[in-house]
């Protein structure tokens, strides 16, 4: 007996669709533990933070956790009126722009010099990485001591060679306070940028340079017209990583000045920490975090778009 084609195909289709379904579901089963963990440690806290940012939640007053629609934007309104937060926000951006760009220029120079070293390059790379091995907290303590007005290395050195007669309060004065922090941050992080740029430089094709030399291009022309364009993806990666790193500056600032004195060196995350941990004002601190995180995400998206563009151009 010959079966009707339709009656044969139908169960096959059904079997296939069951198989297809399993094929679709199976990866999700494998992913489930990961998704569960992400939901528990990322998504839930994010939703929780968003909620808290719309409440006046104070850690010591459990009743303030309740949501009140009439006052839900109070924290965000407060931010707009808070001169310290606004100043800290823009100071963070300026601090990031200055520090990252200075780091970039110095690291670019160092990477180009090291790339031309033919003997002992490995040793130089290893020595260069030493600052990266220190915890930021330790670097903060070290530089706080360097710039200490009474017993600091800088004042004692300058006074002993006669360049100063009275001690200078480096960490108190404007703008030396934030510059001192920037210097500590740069000392620790220039090696990271240098290593990224050095790796990029060493990976560039030598044929392009050989052709340029044949065409009579000078070293400066080679650097401007070949090295810099080809290094762009590496530059953008280095800038992105470092910008996000400096943008969330907390540890070094906390140790060296704690954002003070008189909020003179306050950056966004030290201010958020002060609000949340010292003042127990989790609602206001969450609102500050939300604003900062959103700006951070937009900035990251912008940098990645630039990165993609540079890759397309190449």
């Amino acid at each position: 007996m010959i079966a009707d084609a339709a009656t044969v195909i139908a169960p096959v289709k059904a079997r296939r669709s069951a198989f297809e379904r399993r094929k679709l579901v199976f990866p999700w089963i494998l992913l489930a533990p990961t998704l569960f963990i992400i939901a528990a440690v990322v998504i839930y806290p994010m939703i929780y933070s968003v909620y808290v940012s719309f409440t006046p939640f104070n850690l010591l007053r459990p009743e303030t956790f309740a949501f009140d629609a009439s006052r839900m934007f109070r924290n965000y309104e407060r931010l707009l009126e808070d001169d310290v937060f606004i100043t800290a926000f823009f100071r963070t951006i300026i601090f990031m722009a200055v520090t990252v760009n200075l780091e970039y220029v110095i690291a670019l120079g160092l990477s180009q010099l090291i790339a031309r070293v033919t003997w002992g390059q490995g040793l130089i790379r290893t020595l260069l990485m030493i600052p990266m091995m220190f915890a930021p907290v330790l670097v903060g303590f070290q530089y706080a001591w360097f710039f200490n007005a009474t017993v600091g290395l800088v004042n004692n050195a300058l006074m002993s060679i006669g360049l100063m007669t009275t001690p200078k309060a480096w960490l108190v004065d404007i703008p030396t306070g934030i510059f001192s922090i920037g210097l500590a941050s740069m000392w620790m992080n220039i090696p990271v940028t240098t290593i990224i740029l050095l790796a990029g430089t060493l990976s560039l094709p030598s044929e392009v340079y050989e052709a340029a030399e044949v065409d009579g291009a000078s070293a400066w022309q080679q650097f401007r017209k070949i090295t810099m364009p080809l290094l762009q993806p590496f530059v953008l990666i280095a800038l992105t990583v470092r910008s996000l790193d400096v943008g969330r500056a907390y540890d070094i600032v906390r140790i060296m000045t704690d954002g003070g004195p008189a909020n003179r060196t306050e950056v966004v995350w030290t201010y958020v920490g002060e609000m949340a941990i010292q003042n127990s004002r989790f609602g206001l601190a969450s609102a500050m975090s939300m604003v900062s995180v959103i700006v951070g995400i937009l900035f990251t998206l912008y940098l990645f778009r630039q990165l993609m563009k540079s890759r397309v151009v190449q």
Partner: protein, 450 residues
Amino acid sequence: MIRKLLLLVGLIAVLGISAVAAQDSEPGYAGLDQRFDGVTIRMATIGGAPYEAIYDTISQWEEASGATVEIVFLGDGFEIDRYLKTNYAAGTVDFDVAWNHTSFMTQYVDFVEPLQTYFSEEDLAQFSDAIIASATIDGNLQLIPRHADISGMHYRTDLFGNADLQAAFEAEYGYPLAPPTTIDQMYDMAEFFVAQDAVQYGTQFAGKEEALSGRYYELLVANGGNYFDDAFEPTFNSEAGLATAQWMRDLYANSLIPADTPNLLWPEVAQNFCDGNVAFYLEWYGWYSYFQDPNSCPAVAGNFGILRGPVGASGDIHTGWAGAHAFSVTRASENKEAAASLIKFLTSEAVQYMEAQLGVLPVRDDVWARIISDASASGVALDAERLQVAQEQIGSDFFTPPLFADWISFTNLWTPILQGVILGDASVEDGVAQGVDDARSLLDDLGYYE
């Protein structure tokens, strides 16, 4: 008449002998008269070398009571505060005895048990009245003090005893050079010592965190002002508040205090004095043995004295911002009677005497008598003198920060503004006005005016 006189002399003699006998007797324990078999008391308290010695005595209480003590958390002052706040807020209190402090206690009011029902008047008779009064909120005793600290005027005896400096000072200021007893004198003398190049800085104070707003507070009170009125309306834009801020600003502007004052905390200012860079300043008694050690502080060891804090414009109020470490029983405790008994033991004369011998200032009169008597035999006059001054201060001048739960939040808000005033970022009037506005706004948010 003669009989009455003889009777009086006899009575005085008997009282004197009793006092001497009491002094000669061994210090007594408390809290060892009840059994709590099978009970486990959990304790979250302050740790660190100076604090932990008395915890070794707990085994005596365990033996006498039949209970067991488990220390669930030890941390420094800020760590234990964070631990307690987190657990109180989250409702996860699983301990019976908690660390407390007169400067922090207002945060914990809703979470600790009023102790007047567990401690009789007799139990409290030996404790400093000023501290017990400060620790009582709305008639509820929040804590049992363990030891206290207050600031005395530490001054360099070589500078104040220098005949040339004395003559020059009197010629210029019209009154004799002696350790300052008023806030105005502090300024004059700081100015004088720096002008004479006798010392790098005339005076100093810690210039950050609660250390600054606390020091401002005691000067403000001595000047006749206060941070808040009874309704928590900020009042430090008063004449006293402005004068106090101006005093601090003038000291800084005229380089009479260290250039990095706003970055100094307790260890740094103590080190400045230890190094001989400062003529006089208000300092906690806890640094005494460090300053007297010629190996640590050769510039000041045996070369300084201590006086009561200065009087301000009020004319009769001395500086006296002070604090006392303490113990409380948590509301969540299921063994409150046993927890209170453990606190009785830890704050008893014998245990407190043992702790006072390590250098802290006691809060019990009977312990004061013992350590002053011990110090008198040391051969160093200041050993006993400083205890007498400290006892007088704790008995008469002791005052806590304003008693409201958001004191620390307030100081976090006010300190940077005051730093700005001192550094010249804002005028005294503008800075103080901003402090008052921000403080009111903070307390308004927290529902203080509803």
